[in-house]
Symmetry: C2
DNA sequence: GAATAATCGACCAAATAATTCGAAAATTTT
DNA sequence: AAAATTTTCGAATTATTTGGTCGATTATTC
């Protein structure tokens, strides 16, 4: 291969597709290998272990999510639409990611502290973004927010509450509906009128 | 439990959900058990083996499919719509079932001859239905079919061709589009004009 | 309170999967 | 073109998982 880094990326993408479907545990190195049309042992030339691949995949996906989120909020002007879009994209992505997380919430929590690190970092980033969005809306006299920091925290907590059913695989209650309901409440409690 | 048969059905349904997502091999007895909130060994009181559960699940799903198909074609009058609906429902179901089949096409073909039996029986049933639909359409002067038996076979072959990409998991090519295209060809080659 | 039905945890053998390793290809460098 | 390197691979090894068994235990029925 021309570039080793290039091929690592190819592995990450391929493995990511399988992980996202079957979760960490149920995905075998053999499957990843044969999806890449190579011998199982060859993969160990690029990654030290299955966990290392998983780590790389999560990192990669997390970055994709970050980019998607920022471009999304840039794509509209109105503060309401910015937040609405942000929340929607976030939910869609988490739905996709839920299999990764299900994989982790098995038992092996010990080994996967790196996930917690990514998570923590993202929580901070998200808080900053939300704060900005709220502040921006308040400036435009659309939101009635006095302390954007605390409000951002409240919104984030709400969003986390939405994640739970994804992890617990209880998708009976249509998520989109709940999402809209919550956004309605959020905006009607927040909007100047 | 009040009724043993009742509980077997519950197992079949629960196991079916897991099988349909992960396939036969990747689904463990432990998972089925804990989804039913019972010990793994208790399941063996109702079924002799994992394969026996799988067998029951496939049988159960096959019956569901049969019923869905017959009620679907009864729900519309026009011969064109009957066939169109039939094909659509059939495809949707196969998409759902593809995970079962993927599970089987691994290697364990030997043990799963019963699948082939179901399959054969269904092929015959399907042929009869298609023949009826074609005959019906010809009677109504909508189809231009001289020998409904041979035409039914041709249609069935076409439908089987559509299944292949489902088994091979190559869902890149949007199936619905191809389906419509094929139906168009089918009808325009078949319709009186 | 005996008899039967249903559940369970501990255990095991067999299968499966992750990882290692040395050697063979393939590629690049000299 | 041979030496050095990078990359791939099959076979072997080790670790883990998992389907299934069994005797004991708990609920239920008679």
């Amino acid at each position: 291969m021309v570039n080793k880094e290039e091929f690592r990326k190819k592995i990450i993408i391929t493995a990511g597709q399988i992980f996202s479907h079957y979760g960490f545990k149920k995905t075998t190195m053999d499957e990843i290998a044969s999806a890449l049309k190579m011998g199982k042992s060859s993969i160990y030339y690029y990654f030290k272990s299955k966990e290392e691949i998983f780590e790389a995949v999560v990192l990669y996906e997390a970055n994709l999510l970050r980019n998607e989120l920022t471009t999304t909020i840039k794509s509209v002007e109105s503060p309401v639409e910015k937040i609405r879009n942000y929340v929607f994209v976030r939910m869609k992505s988490f739905e996709k990611l839920s299999n990764y997380y299900n994989a982790i919430f098995d038992k092996n929590l010990d080994h996967f502290e790196f996930i917690e690190n990514i998570r923590a970092k993202y929580d901070r980033e998200e808080l900053a973004i939300l704060r900005l969005l709220l502040y921006h809306g308040a400036r435009k006299k659309v939101f009635n927010v006095t302390n954007s920091e605390y409000t951002a925290l409240a919104v984030q907590t709400t969003l986390k509450g939405l994640e739970v059913p994804l992890f617990w695989k209880k998708k009976e209650l249509h998520l989109e509906d709940r999402l809209n309901a919550i956004l309605d409440v959020l905006f009607n409690g927040i909007l100047k009128k």
